[in-house]
Structures are given as structure tokens and as C-alpha cells.
Amino acid sequence: MPDKPRLSREQIAQRAARELTDGAYVNLGWGIPNLIADYLPKGITVYFHSENGILGMGRRARPGEEDYDLVDAMKVPVTLIPGASFFNQADAHLMTRGGHLDVAVLGGFQVSEKGDLANWKIPGSKGIGNIGGAMDISAGAKNLIVCMEHNTKDSAPKIVKQCSYPLTGIGCVNTIITDLAVIDVTKSGLVLREVAPGWSPEEVQAQTEAKLQVRGRVPEINLG
């Protein structure tokens, strides 16, 4: 593997934040997606949805401010922004599944060239796995972004021809944002939209099992 710097987890989140627009209703999953709220572009308001029944989550609670009846899906005490609301878990998932949210961002173990997502269980890991809300979210998201590292810790590609891990959903991913690239899932396959600074499309392809289509010059990811 080329010994070149890749984006940090925070930088992946920062790039993903730029996909969010003013007034959007957005669900953020575990892992890198959970960092996105810290990097919202200035001047926009986003209504964060939590599967336990919150719309309009604000920043994390500061020490002394925590209320453990007001937590996000990762059990972290949070705050509210003006206009927030509470509802039950069925209505929370009615929003995810029914296509009411504008954007959902999930973490991933693997994404296939057809946009299949695997993110709830690693084969061979002990235990039964944790599905949580990921299957509802992936089935119903109007725009599903997956944020993850481009390769596993053992350098195996995570963007693959076909997922070998247990699936979360089929044909559900719209965009993949990794530490090496921004990739769109289209009807004709995966299209390389941006590459990490200092990386060429060929070098990114070499880290990817699935074929990446290149249409013209591919710009570098701009975090500014």
C-alpha cells in the first residue's frame, strides 16, 4: 500500500458534512457519522434525527448539563435546538423507513458495486451481532451516505464486487465517503467523484476491489 497520508476519521466526517443542506432532516449512525455534527458548514441549520424519538438534536451535553433521559442513539447525553420534538420509537422509524428524512449517514464494513451495504456483523466475530435501526434506515433513506475507511486494518478493500459480510440492505447506498475518495453509486456502477489530496484515481482504484469509473478529471477532496 502506498505510504501516503489518508484522511482522518474527523476529515471524513468533515467532508460528509458538506453533503448536508440547510433545513435538512438527517440521521447519523454509529462511528464516523456520529462525528459529522461537529463539522456543519457555517450558517446552515440541520435537524438531526435520533431513532429513539428525537428530531432537532443539538450538540452533546457539557459536563454538568447531562440529562440521562435525553440521549442519542449511542447513549450520549445531548441537547436540543429550538423547534425540537419527541415521539415514540415506531414514529422515529416511520421517519427512517418511510422516506421522510432527507439524508442518512451510516458506517459500513463493506459496500458493493451495486450499493449493497454490510454493517452489522463481522463474520467470525463472537455473538449474534447488532442490527439496531440500520436495516430500517438503509431501506428507507432517500439519500444514504456511507462513511468508512477505504480498507480494513489488514488492508483489504471494503468497496467490493459483492459483500461477503452479512447484509444490511441491498442496492441502498447512494454515496460512499472514505479516507481516500468520494464515490457515487449509479445505475451503471461506481463513479469516482473525488480523491484524497495526493492520490490519483489509479492509486485509489488499486485499493478498491470494485471497478471505479472515471469521468473526466477527478478533483481532490476539498475540506475548506
Binding site: 440521562y68 415514540n88 449474534i128
Partner: protein, 225 residues
């Protein structure tokens, strides 16, 4: 007026039999009926089927029931990274588990509450969740048949009950509680406070009293982490 208020936690769970199917509210540390769970465990119940989003946080929440070997089968969406006692029981084959996508868990309980015999959904199509389920195509979309989940009892947590059983919830501690209240034959609620009938404004009632059968007041019990 039907008397729904129980004098004690132990009394309110006394007739729940071994082998019962029981729903437990709560998510992310909020809205768990922890006092009821403790009372149920203390009474030495055995062989229950637990329906719950998660499987406890170490000894907390449902954890105590797994630690004491009181659960035979669990239906859950997210057993959780800290469900140590569940994981041990599961590894030893002492507990079986059906994993259900979280929103589908909600809807299957709502179907039970609503007298519906099932519904078709695209959630889980092509995944392990679809194994053994009827699949068909509706309007060009692959979908699977999901059936209702009933329970004999629901143990839930609310903030306030009036003496009739109308409930309100605090912040995000609502989560699964109102759904489970509707889906069980007998719903038992632990609340921070019991207030006189009429002191909750009708438009502020979240769970109407028709779904609540027993009420017990208990000081909130929360587990860290």
C-alpha cells in the same frame, strides 16, 4: 373506578408466571422499568421470553435477568456491546435470540396492538432477516411478510400516571414504552409520580389509560454506562 394502583413492586409482578412472554421498554439507558425488572428477577421467575430493544448493560436493565439465567428466548434489535451476561448465555446455548430490525420490531408490536395479522416490508430483503419468511413483489418492490409480536405482559416506565392510568413520559425516555403498552395483554407501568385523575391535561396524555392495567410508583433507578 377500577383500582389499578399497586402497593408494591413485588405485589405488582407477583402473578407473572414462569415462561411468560414479556416486553421491556427502554432505550439507551432511558425509560427502562428498572425497578420492575429487579422485582421480577427477585421473585425468581424462570424461562421467560423477553422482547426488548437490547439485552442489558452489564448487570443493569435486563442484564440481571440473564445473569440469573431467567431468560430462555429473546427478541431484540440491538443486544448491545455491553450485554455481557446475554452474550455468555447465548454462547453457552442457554438463550436463543431472534434479531429483528428496530423499526420492524416496533411495527410488529403495533400490528399486534392494532389487530393486524402482519405486513409486507422491504426492510431486511436479501439479508439474514428474510430467512424463512414469505417473499413477494408488490409494485415492483421485493418485500417480506412480517408477523405481529404479542406479549402476555409489558413492563414499562413513564414519568407520571394519573390514577386511571393515563401516562406522560419525560424527554426521550418515551422510546418503546407507548408501543409496548399497547401490544401486551397486561401492561404494568412504573412511574415517578401518581397524580389525581384530571390533573394531566387530556391533550398531553401520551398513552391513554385503556392500555394500562397496573401502576406502581417507584423511585427512578438508573444504571451508569
Amino acid at each position: 373506578m377500577k383500582q389499578k394502583i399497586s402497593p408494591s413492586l413485588d405485589a405488582v409482578v407477583a402473578d407473572i408466571p414462569d415462561g411468560a412472554r414479556i416486553m421491556f421498554g427502554g432505550f439507551g439507558g432511558a425509560g427502562f422499568p428498572n425497578n420492575l425488572i429487579q422485582a421480577l428477577s427477585r421473585k425468581g421467575i424462570k424461562e421467560i421470553t423477553a422482547i426488548s430493544n437490547n439485552c442489558g448493560t452489564r448487570e443493569g436493565e435486563l442484564g440481571i435477568m440473564f445473569k440469573n439465567g431467567q431468560v430462555r428466548h429473546v427478541i431484540a434489535a440491538f443486544p448491545g456491546p455491553h450485554s455481557n451476561y446475554f452474550q455468555e448465555c447465548y454462547a453457552k446455548g442457554e438463550v436463543t435470540c431472534e434479531l429483528v430490525p428496530q423499526g420492524i420490531l416496533c411495527e410488529r408490536m403495533r400490528a399486534a396492538a392494532a389487530g393486524l395479522l402482519g405486513f409486507y416490508t422491504t426492510v431486511g430483503v436479501g439479508t439474514e432477516v428474510a430467512n424463512g419468511k414469505e417473499e413477494r413483489v408488490i409494485d415492483g418492490k421485493r418485500c417480506i411478510l412480517e408477523k405481529p409480536i404479542h406479549a402476555d405482559f409489558a413492563l414499562i416506565k413513564a414519568e407520571k400516571a394519573d390514577e386511571l392510568g393515563n401516562l406522560t413520559y419525560r424527554l426521550a425516555a418515551r422510546n418503546f414504552n407507548p408501543i409496548m403498552a399497547m401490544a401486551a395483554s397486561t401492561t404494568i407501568v412504573e412511574v415517578d409520580e401518581i397524580v389525581p385523575v384530571g390533573s394531566i391535561e387530556p391533550e398531553n396524555v401520551i398513552t391513554p389509560a385503556i392500555f394500562v392495567h397496573r401502576i406502581v410508583q417507584a423511585k427512578g433507578l438508573r444504571y451508569a454506562g
